[in-house]
Symmetry: C2
Subunit: 337 residues, 2 copies
């Protein structure tokens, strides 16, 4: 097993990524190919303990910033993201992991690797923490204009992922809408609802925005526009809440003491809701394995992203997706795709 890791992505520079990659290699006996500026990576690698780690460095002379626009992304032919995905394309690596610019990874990996045969649109999928475990949201931003058949495919792919990688039996699939009754929704979701009811999936119906973090469903399907906004709203609410809390607590001595007493627990909660910790997002339906860690990833999160990449490969998620999609096309199941 060889996993290529983009050493140039993320908010904290190459060091945390190199450290995470070394740990992943040690723990999972995987060979890690660190992709990026050779001298920088080598310097970090040498300064970190790395006994028994199998790590190679693949040079990539360019890197893409977290905020870089599509135009400049397209121009950089030697970026670590492009070189990394090309390693997957040429089968020199089994999977690619990056904590870099999500839009760049989505664009480049779709361009270089393309979609699996039978998949119309690869879906950006993310595991989010809930009260009961984790839920897969798909799509969270790769496809902002969707047709009904796209969402049905997202549902099938999400089911395969939760079954194979997360080990769930018969995952509960739900559709994000504005009300639980099947008549609630827009034209897109009403049509998708009908098709999911007719499918062989364990479809539990519509869920509302408030249900994302309740753990009611294992897979929640939406178009990428809605999914992205749902995700960003969540981040905004948490950030606003912590900002308001900070201002409020600083006004009052008792509250300050109270906060100090609670600090460890608050940190624990923050860690629980921080989806950087949950192994990252991934592009389901891509013709190649590509895991996207959060920009805020620490070495542990990088290691987790490599673990997910490895599971993806070991569990043959790609092949299973193709089998399930083909099955869903069989007329005997009465499913319109």
């Amino acid at each position: 097993m060889k996993v290529a890791v983009d050493a140039m992505g993320g908010d904290f520079g190459p060091r945390v990524i190199v450290e995470g990659a070394i740990r992943a290699s040690q723990e999972y006996k995987a060979e890690v190919l660190l992709v990026g500026k050779e001298d920088l990576i080598k310097k970090e690698f040498d300064s970190l303990p790395h006994s028994q780690a199998k790590v190679a460095i693949i040079n990539a002379s360019e890197s893409i910033d977290m905020e870089e626009g599509l135009l400049s992304i397209r121009r950089k032919k030697k970026s670590s993201i492009r070189v990394g995905t090309e390693l997957v394309k040429s089968k020199e690596a089994d999977a690619f992991v990056s904590t870099g610019n999500t839009a760049a990874i989505v664009y480049i990996s779709k361009k270089v690797l393309g979609a699996l045969q039978g998949v119309e649109r690869p879906a950006l999928s993310l595991l989010v923490p809930t009260l009961k475990g984790v839920t897969l949201l798909t799509d969270v931003g790769a496809n902002v204009n969707c047709k009904p058949q796209h969402l049905v495919q997202f549902a099938v792919m999400g089911k395969v992922f939760m079954e194979s990688v997360m080990g769930l039996k018969n995952p509960r699939v739900a559709l994000m809408s504005v009300g639980e009754e099947e008549i609630k929704g827009n034209d897109l979701t009403k049509e998708v609802h009908e098709r999911l009811v007719a499918s062989s999936l364990n479809f539990i119906g519509n869920v509302e925005g408030k249900d994302i973090y309740s753990g009611r469903a294992d897979v929640i399907v939406s178009d990428g526009f809605t999914g992205n906004i749902a995700l960003k709203v969540s981040e905004g609410v948490v950030e606003t809440f912590f900002n308001m809390a900070r201002a409020e607590i600083m006004k009052n001595l008792f509250a300050k003491i109270g906060f100090i007493l609670m600090k460890r627990n608050v940190k624990k909660i923050y860690k629980k809701i921080d989806y950087a910790e949950y192994g990252g997002a991934h592009l389901l339906g891509l013709n190649g394995v590509c895991i996207i860690g959060h920009g805020r990833s620490n070495p542990n999160a990088v290691k987790n992203a490599v673990r997910v990449a490895r599971e993806f490969v070991l569990q043959k998620v790609q092949e299973k997706i193709q089998i399930e999609l083909a099955k869903s096309l069989e007329p005997s199941l009465g499913m319109k795709v």
Copy 2:
């Protein structure tokens, strides 16, 4: 000024509504018409202090539950919501306030009152608290399938509301999308972006989900499907966060003591982020004034909803909306509607 108030709506029964209505009448010298089951209302009214309050009771023999479906809503011709909106229709009341079932209020008020001339779709609009004040989200659920011209109208109506009722000068209008650059978005938002740039509005461009609560914009426009999900996700995040926090705090004595010391401040924050306090949602562009308070409204929130209804009427929001929409149609402004 006469404001009809639905005494049967809300999660806490008629008492809190009657109390809020009495206080509103006392404070704003408005006459309040309490609509609902006469005997119930009378009992509550008599048991509450009500000196100088001008309150009349209008009997409505049916009421609609918070979770009631559309089918049964349609059948109830004598519901307090229908009787209340009919009072506006017949000009016996200047405005209607309800803290009942939002879907029922939207459906009935659109049916009974219709849209203002020139308005294609009335928009459910909500004031949400931000780090810097309040922002108007529009639409948050009345129109789940939207065309570009609908969103442009929402923007114009939202601007008029923030200017007239909230007293803002030249409100900043933004479009909810998946990235700030104008090329980011789905087919709908790209078209709307172009039209808003060409309009005479103070359009500041796209904002992302995380910006709803940052206070960057005074009006955020979206289709009702996306807006509803954004809102429900926010509720879900806050609820999940408090549930996780409770479980975490209960595990540890120091944290428990810490929480007790912070309790007053936590309550303050909760109050700050609880949009039940902010005067409710309203249907912009309806041919009549209709304010929808949150089901969780306490007497103070009911009073605030009556205050907003009163401002709506006094500031002639309806007329201003028609003037601004007509202006936006003038070819000299180069605005395609």
